[in-house]
Amino acid sequence: MAGTSPAMTLESVDLEDDWHEFSGFFGPNLPVAMDYYLQQLAIGLSLGMVYALMAIGFTLIFGVLNVVNFAHGEVYTIGAFTGLVVISAFAPPLIVVLLLVVAVGALAGVGLERIAFKPFRRFSDEASLKSRAMREATLMSSLAVSIVVREAVEIGFGSQFQTVPLDRLLNSPISLGPITIVSGDVIIFVVAALMLGGLQYVLKRTNVGLSIRAVSSNPLGAKYVGINTDRTIIWTFAVGSMMGAAAGILVGLYYGAIFPSMGFIPGIKAFVAMVMGGLSSIPGAVICALILGFSESIATIFVPSVWADMVAYGFLIVTLIFFPRGIFGGARDRV
């Protein structure tokens, strides 16, 4: 009777937090030195940056369409696998890998929008754009697409961890005063900071960004002043998915853990960050993602690392009960 259950049809790999096992080496009971706190803070910073990259995709899309994109985690997975394929095919330098991954991520985002979101926008007035039926339909359709993508990746590559060439892992140690971090921490921080800065530039200074902000603040008004809503939505997906895909390959090379269902846990964390930040505020989402990253890596000092995920969900519940509009919800711009 015992054995694999047919109920596990949607489950592929058990997600037992490979995400954290690297940040909790030392267990809860060792005497904790100041250096160790600093080290955890550095790890928390890169973790938070990754969540921020993911959360931006959620937030942009939620701002424009008022829907949750459940396939965002799969964009992250696609990013990681694209990077892996590129590396094993012709081993270019990291920057080329990143550019290719970002390009493929943008394509994935556009494809996702065409397949899972466009067919459900039958009417373009604001009421039906943000209606409940539309939200539930796209929630389920993005979910369906994410199942198909994950299974397709699993058929193509197998469900186990992929082997990343050792020399490509971002783990050469760097001594920084009293603490030791790895190169991945620095690279993730730099890349994420560049992308966040670039995003800010795009949103504030370019036509695409201005139209994204216009549509997310008022779709009908944006239409009246001649903005092509459809094209703006595609751009939103492209920009958001670029960030998600970049996060995927960075984390993949940082932890050396690339597998088909890798996008699930970071996807949920980014989702939590988005909700904490007030659902459609980008600065809010970034700040909350950083808070989340820091508190998780600090939490691993005090509790076994497997419980660190609890921090995110605890934050989520506390935010929802005490700040139902998000910590940065009402006060800021929608994007």
Partner: protein, 337 residues
């Protein structure tokens, strides 16, 4: 056919089908695997029906339903293995345990609306999943729990595949009957009014918060019952059975079948459980096909296989009750009795 006879015939037909034809067919093949698939299908019918009550009828998008299913399963499994209780005790206790957790969840989250409520249930579902996964001293963590004994009732051993199927079928049918009575009644209409406009319902004098918590508790209760059935029939439970993808699978059943439609939820559950089994020869591609079915059913049948309106019409005509007006005052002929 008289109006009085028809509901009896419909009920009799369902009973004959589930308790007569299906076990006969299963008996003809006599493979325990087929019994397990049938049990699983019935359990998910019950899960989809319980989610139908809270998500379809009361309109509270619930993304953590599998957690209540898990609470029920772990309650039943632990009561069996640690306390040595038999099925007659574990089944109701599992339901009550899950209902209790559901009320605890509902009390702080009920004032949240729409997407915020959905997100809160997702978070709580994940928390309960983490507890199942990591509270190793009690739940045995990822290793899961073997439930080898316990499917006994009044001293009879019911653990043979055929008798286990009958237990699951009877419990599921009884639960479906209760959910049917709840969702196709004035009470169900009150819940529907919450979904359409809870401020208006409040103004009409309904205690909206209480109704929401009640529907959540009832839904949690039946999810817990389903969990107990799963623990006893599968013989082995592990946290992976109650993770987020399972919640989504249940939600998918309700949506594919038709939000707010009980027959739809039942059919949706049967489709999404049996389709992967039928497609087993296709091997690796079956989950892709399930994803495709989900996608196209949303695209092409946005109201679901049996939409709410036609489901209500169907239930009204086939199972009778409302609009008959006999023995009631002239003014009360509209609506459900």
């Amino acid at each position: 056919m008289s109006d009085r006879l028809r509901p009896l015939l419909v009920v009799a037909a369902v009973l004959v089908l589930v308790l007569g034809v299906v076990p006969a067919v299963l008996g003809a093949f006599d493979r325990s695997y087929l019994y397990q698939v049938a049990n699983l299908a019935l359990i998910f019918v019950l899960l989809a029906a319980s989610m139908h009550l809270v998500t379809g009828v009361a309109g509270l998008l619930q993304l953590g339903h599998a957690a209540f299913y898990g609470v029920g399963a772990y309650t039943a499994a632990l009561l069996t293995t640690e306390a040595g209780l038999s099925f007659g005790w574990t089944l109701p206790l599992a339901g009550l345990g899950a209902a209790f957790v559901a009320v605890l969840v509902a009390l702080p989250t009920m004032r949240l609306v729409s997407i915020y409520f959905a997100v809160a249930t997702l978070g709580i579902g994940q928390m309960l999943y983490l507890v199942m996964l990591n509270w190793v001293p009690v739940t045995k963590g990822p290793n899961g729990i073997l439930v080898t004994s316990g499917l006994t009732l009044f001293g009879y051993d019911l653990s043979r595949p055929a008798s286990a199927y009958f237990v699951v079928a009877v419990v599921t049918l009884a639960s479906l009957w209760v959910i049917h009575r709840l969702s196709h009644s004035y009470y169900g209409n009150a819940l529907r009014s919450l979904r359409e406009d809870d401020q208006c319902a409040d103004a009409m004098g309904l205690d909206t918060v209480r109704l929401k918590i009640e529907s959540f508790a009832v839904s949690g209760f039946f999810a817990g019952i389903a969990g107990a059935l799963w623990a006893h029939t599968a013989g082995y439970i592990s946290p992976a059975d109650f993770s987020f993808p399972q919640s989504i699978l249940i939600l998918a059943m309700v949506v594919v079948g038709g939000l707010g439609s009980l027959p739809g939820a039942v059919i949706g559950a049967l489709v999404l459980i049996l389709l992967p089994e039928v497609l087993r020869p296709v091997g690796d591609f079956r989950n892709i096909i399930v994803g495709g079915v989900l996608f196209f059913s949303i695209l092409l049948m946005p109201k679901g296989i049996i939409g709410e309106v036609s489901a209500l019409d169907l239930v009204r005509r086939q199972l009778g009750g409302a609009w008959r007006g006999e023995g009631t005052k002239a003014g009360s002929e509209v609506g459900w009795r």
